[in-house]
């Protein structure tokens, strides 16, 4: 029971189930970048994915587009299982799953015109006649707020924010149902960040595209995302609607992440630091992976790992505090529907 949120569209386009991605290393233990995570991206929804560096949020994006191999579990896009690409071109069906990256400059070829690069998204997947091709390119450019004339120019003629729009336009040419945006605004100035965030939110609302918005910037995620999944060390620790998460974070890690983000209110308040460092993912802590840094940890936390449970109101949380509270509330942890009211914060 995932993704039961009251948002528009609502059809599951990308579904990850118990995904494990393991990186093998020579003479060293392998690293589980994803240690069994599940997530649904619904059409028309901006799904924020947050967590510290090394938590596996980018690995999920790369696994979903076939850029890294899934060790176990499965990722389905529109009902078909995503296979690792290797050196093969992507199967036609998956053209509707697009990705944009942090560094727009590196995502574009400096020696080809913008129009040529946008046309790639068509040539690889359709046999589109040239007039139709030009029309679709100019529609995509207009959609991202660039003039039609941009197609004759080169990436170096554009600013950082405009280049990221070109990347978005290129993904739009393929008429996607899901766009995975991996830190799409991290390299941009505040004003360009606002533009790209607005653009992605518009695409979800107007075109019904599901956006997986991977970012470490919680303030922006709060502004644009409909639902948020919080990851820690390869696992989901909490997922909730954005309003729920910020008004009442359930998992201590979500709480710490929110408290650590500084506010630009001029009040001189120092943000709350989270004790300790991110553990080595090759040797994750026993029990709950967050327990060595958690200020609420108690006896069971280092011993047994809490499951990610439906805790009501469409939220999921993997924390013993809320498992206990949930049980005390009288509802079984696996209660279907998940509309228990016995939650204590």
């Amino acid at each position: 029971m995932i993704g039961q949120f009251d948002v528009t569209n609502g059809e599951v386009a990308l579904r990850a189930r118990d995904v494990v991605v393991e990186y093998k290393r020579k003479h060293m233990p392998s690293v589980r970048a994803l240690a069994g995570m599940s997530l649904d991206v619904l059409r028309g929804q901006v799904h924020g994915l947050v967590g510290e560096s090394g938590c596996g949020k980018s690995t999920l994006g790369r696994a979903a587009t076939g850029l890294v191999e899934v060790t176990s579990g499965s990722i389905d896009f529109e009902g078909k299982t995503v296979e690792p690409l290797g050196l093969r071109p992507r199967p036609r069906h998956f053209r509707r799953l697009q990705m944009i990256f942090q560094n727009a400059h590196a995502s574009l070829n400096p020696r080809r015109t913008v129009g040529d690069q946008l046309a790639d998204a068509l040539l690889r997947s359709h046999d589109t006649p040239p007039p139709d091709r030009d029309r679709r390119i100019s529609v995509a450019l207009e959609r991202v707020g660039l003039p039609e004339a941009a197609s004759k120019r080169y990436p170096s003629d554009f600013s950082g924010g405009q280049r990221q729009r070109i990347c978005v336009a290129r993904s739009l040419v393929a008429e996607p149902t899901v766009i995975i945006a991996d830190e799409p605004i991290s390299a941009l100035d505040a004003s360009a960040q606002a533009q790209i965030s607005n653009l992605l939110a518009e695409l979800a609302r107007d075109l019904g595209i599901g956006i997986l918005f991977i970012s470490h910037d919680l303030a922006i995620v709060r502004q644009v995302a409909d639902v948020v999944t919080v990851m820690y060390l390869g696992k989901v620790v909490e997922s909730a609607s954005t309003d729920q998460l910020w008004s009442r974070p359930l998992h201590p890690y979500s709480e710490a992440l929110i408290a650590a983000a500084p506010a630009h209110d001029g009040l001189g308040t120092l943000p709350e630091a989270l004790a300790g460092d991110i553990p080595d993912p090759a040797v994750p802590p026993t029990g709950c992976r967050f327990h060595p840094r958690c200020k609420h940890a108690f006896e069971i936390c280092p011993v047994e790992e809490p499951a990610l449970l439906d805790v009501g109101e469409g939220r999921r949380c993997a924390c013993w505090l809320h498992t206990e509270a949930h049980r005390a509330g009288g509802d079984g942890p696996q209660a279907p529907g998940g509309s228990s009211g016995g939650l204590v914060s």
Partner: protein, 330 residues
């Protein structure tokens, strides 16, 4: 006043692809002991070049004019040898990426003690003891063991703490921190901000904090200088500046940031595109993007004028500008 550093008329010019570019165009500011001056601005605004010029670390083809008086000397007219006496000893520096600041093949001990031994003429043992206490001050766990280690054995946050320890080693009067937390996670960033705040209080040191992140500014800085296109457009104490900006650029920049009260609504980007160093508009560089611009804005460069006892703004035009003068400032 007890200014530690006084910068006057700082101008930096460099050859660019389309002729000479003015990176920094006449900047004045002061920093007093115990104060954190924030330098805020977007990329290309000249904020980093300003502090690099103070350290003599800008490319040799750049032409720097103006003065920067620090302890009775002009930093901008020192020769290489004199600058080496200042850098690391009287002025400590922390850059964005600790991995490029630290040498990957050299032990923490050598990196921490090298300039102490050179500048302060300490013996190996004394320097080592001091290095350990510095690591303790920046809260590196197990400092006695950590000093033997190499940079790769530490996490990003711990590395940045080591860089801060290096910057503090010779007890500088001024610490320059250029985007010190930008490469770090928010959870780790919060720890570094708390550390910098503590050190500043303990040592009564002046800090110049350069960052584009107004959240970081708000947590740490006392006073803020907002850069746009190589000039300071607004300067003043951080609280009134962020709560009641006087310059249209500052106001627009703050409006472009996410606000918890406006969740789910579109953000408000600044109209137009940022002025790049090789194409700066005449007059007020912000006028093509400014909704209050008048004809005069494209002709004359507005100077930084007082709008209250403590605040300066370089906009004589915007209708809200100067309200602080009338007693609105809180």
């Amino acid at each position: 006043m007890n200014e530690l550093l006084s910068v006057r008329g700082l101008r930096i010019r460099m050859p660019g692809p389309h002729g000479p570019m003015t990176i920094v165009d006449g900047v004045d500011f002061d920093v007093s002991s115990g104060e954190v001056l924030g330098i805020a601005g977007e990329s290309g605004s000249g904020k980093t070049m300003t502090v690099l010029a103070l350290l003599g670390l800008i490319p040799p083809n750049a032409v720097v004019t103006g003065t920067a008086t620090f302890g009775g000397r002009d930093l901008l007219s020192l020769d290489r040898r004199q600058l080496q006496q200042v850098r690391g000893r009287e002025v400590g520096v922390v850059f964005q990426d600790p991995m490029t600041t630290l040498h990957p093949m050299v032990s923490i001990e050598r990196q921490l003690t090298e300039h102490m031994r050179r500048h302060l003429d300490l013996g190996r043992r004394v320097a080592r003891v001091r290095a350990i206490s510095l690591l303790e001050e920046v809260r590196i766990p197990n400092a006695r063991r950590a000093i033997e280690a190499h940079p790769h054995q530490f996490s990003g946050g711990m590395r940045q703490r080591i860089v801060i320890a290096m910057a503090l080693a010779c007890e500088p009067k001024l610490l320059i921190a250029d985007e010190p937390t930008t490469a770090l996670d928010v959870t780790v960033q919060a720890g570094i901000l708390r550390l910098l705040d503590q050190i500043r209080r303990d040592r009564g040191m002046a800090v110049i904090l350069v960052t584009h992140d107004l959240g970081v500014m708000s947590s740490l800085a006392n006073r803020l200088a907002v850069f746009y296109a190589g000039r300071v457009v607004e300067m003043g104490p951080v609280k009134p500046l962020l709560q009641d900006p006087q310059h249209p650029y500052t106001k627009n920049l703050l409006m472009a940031l996410p606000h918890p009260q406006q969740r789910g609504q579109p953000l408000q980007p600044i109209p137009g595109t940022a002025a790049t160093p090789d194409a700066r508009p005449p007059g007020c560089a912000f006028h093509p993007r400014c909704q209050y611009a008048e004809e005069s804005c494209s002709i004359k460069v507005p100077s930084l004028m007082p709008v209250s006892d403590t605040r300066l703004s370089a906009c004589p035009v915007a209708p809200f500008a100067g309200r602080a003068l009338l007693g609105v400032e809180g």
